[in-house]
Symmetry: D3
Subunit: 73 residues, 6 copies
């Protein structure tokens, strides 16, 4: 039954998303013996100006070159 | 007060979304006597390569013709 | 594939929750031809002091008898 | 650690979103002494035909001029 | 229409939660001219062993005294 | 920045939850080069009568011994 939701800033490729789906499903099978056929994974991609950390948008943090320490990725 | 969130793969029409909103609001009124004016419904539509089931993306499952059994819709 | 999340204040019975699950699954089958076996529904129940509307908690609104108009249920 | 998710109908500007991020982070610092560097804020924008209130979509309510009372914004 | 969801580790008082509800509703009114009567706020409180950061649970980080820098609050 | 939310039926131990947090953080580092210090993971545990699949609650499916095929875990 698990339902997993990833919230990420935009930019993952279709292949990377497929790897995330496969990887997290494997984790749920191995750690909790979940049934993969009822394990659902959703990836939500967010624009950098709609994600904030430390009170500032990721868009601004990236423009200032601060993403390496604070919010890489 | 209820807040209902639907997560669906893309493809519903405006009319189908209106039917979902009306239908689920009716359910909350009939089953739980909720006040429709404070019942909110949000529909989030997800790309097929951002939704996984059985460890694989819906995009791949559909390409393989497996959606009838595993993930129709 | 649909995943539906209900957020409600506490108080629904097991039977009422079962009716919600059945009702919203039926809606998704009828309106969007979704496969019930991959339709998941989760009901999250919230304490009245953790839900706010009009800038005030439902707990306070109920104590003041304002729930009939503003936030019944 | 806080994670805050805003769900809004579409239309906020980048500047307004930055104000929301800053404002809600300040609230968490002042009220709960949270660490801003681990406070994350995500803003999800929803199309008017994907948001319902009172059993009807915001798109319809706006077309009928009912948004002032029921669902302004 | 806005719906705001706070995810926090457990420990906020009823009064602190009321301040959060009031504060974030005020922000939405001031910044985006939203209608408070249709602004809903939900606070979800999470156990420290169910919240992870830096790949480790907040429960462990706190036991090691690392919460001041990494995940205060 | 990633924020990952697991929704599971109740029953995971503290150790299993720690493994999930570690495992999914590793995935985000390896696949998307995310910064672990800003990767947050929340695990939400749901009662079996609040989770539905195939239009029926997991509580009922388990009582009927149907969980092996439909909703193990």
């Amino acid at each position: 039954m698990p339902y997993v939701e990833f919230n990420l800033t935009k930019g993952a490729t279709t292949e990377q998303k497929a790897q995330l789906v496969e990887g997290v499903t494997d984790l749920l099978v191995k750690i909790l013996d979940k049934n993969p056929s009822s394990t659902q994974v959703v990836i939500k991609e967010i624009e950098p100006d709609s994600w904030g950390i430390s009170g500032r948008s990721v868009k601004k943090l990236r423009a200032e070159g601060k993403t390496a320490n604070i919010s890489k990725g």
